[in-house]
Amino acid sequence: MKWETVIGLEVHTQLATKSKIFSGSSTAFGAAPNTQASAVDIALPGVLPVLNRGAVECAIKFGLAIGANLNRVNVFDRKNYFYPDLPKGYQISQLAKPIVEGGALKIVVEGEEKTVNLTRAHMEEDAGKSLHEDFHGMTGIDLNRAGTPLLEIVSEPEMRSSAEAVAYARALHTLVTWIGICDGNMQEGSFRVDANVSVRPVGQAEFGTRREIKNLNSFKFLQQAIDYEVRWQIETLEDGGRIEQATVLFDPDTGETRMMRSKEDAHDYRYFPDPDLLPVKLDEDWIERVRAALPELPAAMQARFQAEYGVSAYDAAVLTGSRALADYFETAARACGQGKLAANWVMGELSAALNKAELGIAASPVSAAQLGALIARIQDGTLSGKLAKQVFEGLWEGAGEVDAIIEARGLKQMSDSGELEKIVDEVLAANQKSVEEFRAGKDKAFNALVGQVMKASRGKANPAQVNDLLKARLQ
């Protein structure tokens, strides 16, 4: 039987506010335990939550960026459950009236464009952290994270492979960091993914029973977890078994998913509107101010890069992988007026060097203006591609500006044709054997002669000019 995979993702993004969603505690990562947990965060009796305008604004930005409906009046609810890192005994979340409903995100998988629709996005508070290492057989509770603002972003079950799920998660990650509502740091838990996975026979209209994989904190784990889960579900069904609704965890060490809780132990959260919080109203003025301040979004920028700089759809997608990368490319492309060449250098030489040095684009030792200046020197014929790479190395080492490096290292491409002719003649005289082979019809011999000329010019000859001169001499 042929099976179809159905995946929907729930992503918890930590909003990039200075203070918590309902208190004035800091949200900075890595502080000593419980030093950023106020009376509200630890749920002392009598305290009241006061909503952070910054968190609401992040949610508005997101809603606008995905073309969603913003609920002008939205409501906070209590989600009730007992766990020691949730001191109130409930999490403040949004159920019936979330701030964001609908919207869509474009993804590209193997060259195919696809639109993934979103169901909703709602504001909520994070819980604290439970540390199960041995504290004399007890669990340690750190409430620094309690009350950190989250936006939970829920997709429709519209992805049909792990590759699509990863593409969606990446596109979402790019977007939330692009509009500055989340720092995107997956190691620190700022972007956590839950995947709802089911399979069904191809052609069947109803969905199969789903299992939810919790808390995936890397794109690699997301892919591995879904692939394993899909295989397991298909094998179970083909062996005549049934899939029971369940929550599972992915173990990166074994590459397997394992049951965390079954449907029988599923929580009954008894949601109800939180009487401590009034409904939230979004003024049109506020929404319009946020809309006006939004940066150009990745999809719009991709289209513009293709039109303005003549780069391919694929290149445009890579170059808008982050705002820093897109800004870098555009600065370099404007500096040299050569969009395609700038794209090749940014995605080629520069990316390779950054990867090797394990640096992000923001930490690049070669500035966008410098790369632009370098490309301009290729364009005006001063540098060959090969010499340009040597200048690039100089820039990387911090040896100065482009022209100064060309001057200091004598890397100028040979433009004096008299000087080149002299070298060509010397090479021809010294390589009679290759000349004869070429005349006898061996094309390879010609390449050998080009190589010799380039070598004799110490790489400074213009390869096209060398070709022309050699051909003329050998006719």
Binding site: S19, S23, S26, A39, R53, M138, P273, P275, L278, P279
Partner: protein, 95 residues
């Protein structure tokens, strides 16, 4: 609508409240009275009236995104039954 004893036991379990059979029976009678009250209210015609999420028809006030709290964990932890390295210690829970 009325609640069975099983409903009462289940609600009590969700709220982590230990309930004897006698207490459950008493609570069942009290809660069913409240349901009677709700049934009376539900008889009112509310067609065309938008549900309210709060008893007052006002909206949430917002605060600016600024850090206004300082570290008071030693004060808070003075009343905690068990503390170590700044962490609150609780009986082991693993889900």
């Amino acid at each position: 609508m009325s609640l069975s004893t099983d409903d009462i036991k289940r609600i009590a379990r969700l709220a982590r409240i230990e309930t004897s059979d006698a207490e459950a029976a008493a609570t069942q009678a009290q809660l069913n009275n409240i349901f009677g009250l709700i049934a009376t209210m539900q008889a009112v015609d509310t067609a065309g009236i938008a549900p309210m999420a709060h008893a007052q028809e006002v909206y949430q006030r917002l605060r600016d995104d600024a850090v206004t709290e300082s570290d008071r964990h030693t004060t808070f932890q003075a009343v905690a039954p068990a503390v170590e390295n700044g962490l609150y210690l609780v009986p082991k829970v693993i889900e």
